[in-house]
């Protein structure tokens, strides 16, 4: 997490907030029923943050439209008044992407919660944006199908939010991200014009705009309906839990599994402090003496799973695993996963506050980053537990602190920024699945050059010329990067160090 700087309000400080609010309420009252429009302080307070509670703002108005026609009319009115619009799903985001704009409308899409169609023949579901991720799989279950991306918040988060963040989960390596599992989105441009990105075929004429819209954090268009791909449910899944007495050996084991040509359905790692925290919470029988624990899952036909588990056990033991256990049945498999899935609440039990980071690094750098984090624990005098989507190289360090103790919050923020910058230096990225939101704005200055950020801004303006959709998120303003004072780290991808870039 970066040092907080308030997102600047586009219309400028000269506008009187009360007058502006009255103007917007008057305009929207003509379009929405009274119960779908909240503007009194006590009504809008629940909307002042998302899952990242450290950053808050009170919106001018919260609108909860019930029909697509209302959404279109609202957007048209806001566009005419040049009022910012911040879309919101379940509010489970972890980067402040749905944090309100102080002079804007928060557009809650919670009422769009209908599953329009589940179709076995085409293996697709058409759902409104407010449908919960897990509800799609539940609706598809009678057909032997499910929706593959499974973020840890899947019980609560909505598909619209998943599209905005390009959410992942623990099975991404084999089954892909939201991006790989969405065929089409329907919604509206900032002007309120109906638009579709993607289609019912596997491609569309012209540019692949769906690729740009997914993961755009509500800054390019408002999505109201999503067509997702459904996947046939594997007949069987089994999980290996393996212990290692050295983090480097565990990291090498991950690389060795991939090098052996295996793409596991899930490949997760926890370090020793994390294991201790979750064992105390779920009592799954984790090995508390291990420096690192790997969870390796195989799914498919029974024959396929038997073959793959055998091969993985061979690789793990060759990589120096000190203990290995294979789940015997579904209950035991879920028990193995219970700790990993509860890493966040388990951290909440051992510390008054924690900050969850989300960087991605090349897998082979795993030991390097974990050792660097150990040094940072000393430097910032704070503890850190680590869970890791090892198969994807996506790291979730949980920095433990107590916001009521002196400068601990500040130290935690510096700790977090240090992890992100180290990740970029190791050839990785500042966010793997949680998004930039407001949380990682400053770190964007480290990952991208001024020209790259300007190009992203230009891309946004192509969809939203006035910059009204979720302004102040994802792309930091120039002055912010200047104040942040950290240099842009040249990426490994850039093979041209001799080229002048500043």
């Amino acid at each position: 997490m970066n040092a907080p700087l308030p997102a600047s309000a586009t219309p400028g400080p000269t506008i009187d907030r009360n007058a502006r609010q009255a103007q917007v309420v008057a305009a929207l009252s003509a379009l929405l029923p009274a119960h779908a429009l909240l503007h009194r302080r006590e009504d809008t307070t629940p909307y002042e943050c998302d899952g990242l509670t450290a950053y808050r703002a009170t919106p001018l108005v919260v609108a909860l439209p019930e029909t697509e026609a209302q959404v279109a009319a609202l957007l048209e009115a806001c566009h005419a008044l040049e009022v910012p619009v911040v879309a919101r799903g379940a509010g489970t985001g972890l980067s402040g992407g749905a944090m309100p704009h102080a002079l804007g409308v928060t557009l809650s899409l919670a009422k769009f919660n209908r599953i329009v169609k589940v179709d076995l023949a085409s293996r697709t579901a058409v759902v409104q944006c407010g449908v919960r991720n897990l509800a799609i799989s539940e609706a598809a279950a009678p057909f032997g199908l499910y929706y593959a991306p499974d973020p840890s918040s899947q019980i609560a988060c909505t598909i619209g939010g998943n599209v905005a963040e390009n959410s992942g989960g623990v099975h991404c390596l084999k089954y892909g991200l939201t991006f790989h599992n969405v065929l089409k989105v329907r919604g509206f441009t900032v002007e309120g014009e109906a638009v579709e990105f993607g289609g019912d075929a596997l491609d569309t004429p012209g540019l692949d705009l769906l690729a740009a819209v997914i993961g755009s954090e509500g800054m390019l268009a408002i999505v109201t309906e999503v067509t997702v791909k459904l996947t046939p449910k594997p007949q069987l899944a089994r999980c290996i839990m393996a212990s290692f007495d050295d983090i480097r050996k565990a990291g090498d084991a991950v690389a060795a599994i991939i090098a052996a040509g295996i793409i596991p359905a899930g490949l997760e790692m926890m370090d020793k402090p994390m294991t201790a925290a979750v064992e105390d919470y779920v009592h799954a029988g984790y090995d508390l003496t291990a420096e690192a624990i790997l969870l390796c899952e195989s799914d498919g036909t029974p024959e396929e799973v038997a073959e793959e588990i055998e091969r993985m056990l061979e690789v793990l033991s060759g990589s120096g695993a000190t203990r290995m256990e294979v789940s015997k049945d579904e209950a035991q498999r879920l028990k193995f996963w219970s700790g990993r899935k509860n890493a966040f609440p388990a951290s909440g039990r051992i510390s008054p506050d924690y900050m969850c980071m989300d960087s991605t690094i090349p897998r082979k750098r795993l030991a390097d980053i974990l050792l660097a984090i150990q040094q940072m624990e000393t430097k910032y005098a704070l503890r850190c537990c680590n869970v890791f989507h090892a198969g994807d190289g996506n790291l979730h360090p949980l920095i433990l602190f107590d916001a009521n103790q002196g400068d601990q919050l500040h130290r935690a923020e510096l700790f977090g920024a240090d992890i992100l910058e180290t990740s970029v230096r190791l050839g990785g990225t500042i966010t793997g699945e949680h998004g930039v939101g407001v949380e990682k704005l400053s770190s964007m200055c480290v990952q991208f050059s001024p020209e790259e950020r300007a190009q992203m801004e230009a891309l946004k303006r192509a969809f939203d010329p006035k910059g009204l959709l979720n302004p102040g998120k994802v792309i930091p303003e120039l002055h912010r990067c200047a104040e942040y004072g950290k240099m842009h780290v040249k990426k490994g991808l850039l093979p041209f160090p001799q080229l002048e870039r500043f």
């Binding site: 692949d208 740009a212 303006r461």
Partner: protein, 370 residues
Amino acid sequence: MAADAAPGTALGPALGQLVERVRSAQAARTALDIVGGGTKAFYGGPRQGEPLDLAELAGISSYEPSELVVTARAGTPLAELEATLAGKGQCLPFEPPRFAPGGTVGGMVAAGLAGPARASAGGVRDYMLGATLLNGRAEVLSFGGQVMKNVAGYDVSRLLAGSMGTLGVILEVSLKVLPVAPATTTLRFEIDETAALAQLNAWGGQPLPISASAVWNGILVLRLAGAAAAVRAAAVRLGGEVVEPDLAAAFWTGLRDQTDEYFVGAAKAVGSGATLWRLALPQTAPPLKLSGEQLVEWGGAQRWLVTTAPAAMIRDAVARAGGHASAFRGDKPEGAFAPLSAPLARIHRELKTAFDPERIFNRARLVADL
């Protein structure tokens, strides 16, 4: 990966010259026609402007099999990339077509075309992890990266797959790669098109390792790929006649590269005035009653049609079935690609301006008059 990806020293001049060319083209508003191997010159709208050759910008910058990532410069021959991956038991799972020898990595990404495995494995877009782009302001920009999960900023690199060079010169790309499937079996069934489409969609809803399909002339050819045990079990369950492995491999390669019997016939027809159409459809779309000969791939989601029927009639029928039709080879009197809806056309124009304000790159390859 920064330390490992040390650039070849010869790259400096090649990139420097490209940047200079683009800078002067921008100043003079000279149209540029980006050229890789020229193997897909027939594809898309008409070429315009002076050739901008990427051949010098070649080579694999980094390849780490255990990371499942390869980074290659645009001018790298596709054959070189595929051979390097094959050496480590890996592949480009989307099976990009090679219509002729000499195709490049940049051309593969810009065209965004995929082969028989598209419906099961995904397309070029699904394997894009990062790209370095030379935009119309002569700026060298990197988006995405070399890691599997990355949501920092907008996903510009995936937007480049299939962009036909309209947003800028793709200089380098990072792609996710996968291990070659341990086992493959091809089955052959005698079945008419309607029944074949229904059967493919029924199988699609089950956990079967189906990796490709083709329906032509009363025959369905089906490829299974995956773990040996899964492929064996599925082959027994599905029945059909097992095709001898060498023959099967030759068939799928011919389908991928359009050298198979159907496409040889199509080329002849195109030579005498017909058009080869690529119809992208929902896989559940019923058989389309159009004059001409059809070959169905991707479980029904891609259908090839050789015909002399008017473009408007074909586009209309395909649009009614929920898809779009591209004039792939031959005459394209109504343009190569189906027209865009009004809001999408506007966003395309604005995006073109955002990346290439003087409209110097590949002006008509993707959208007429972009």
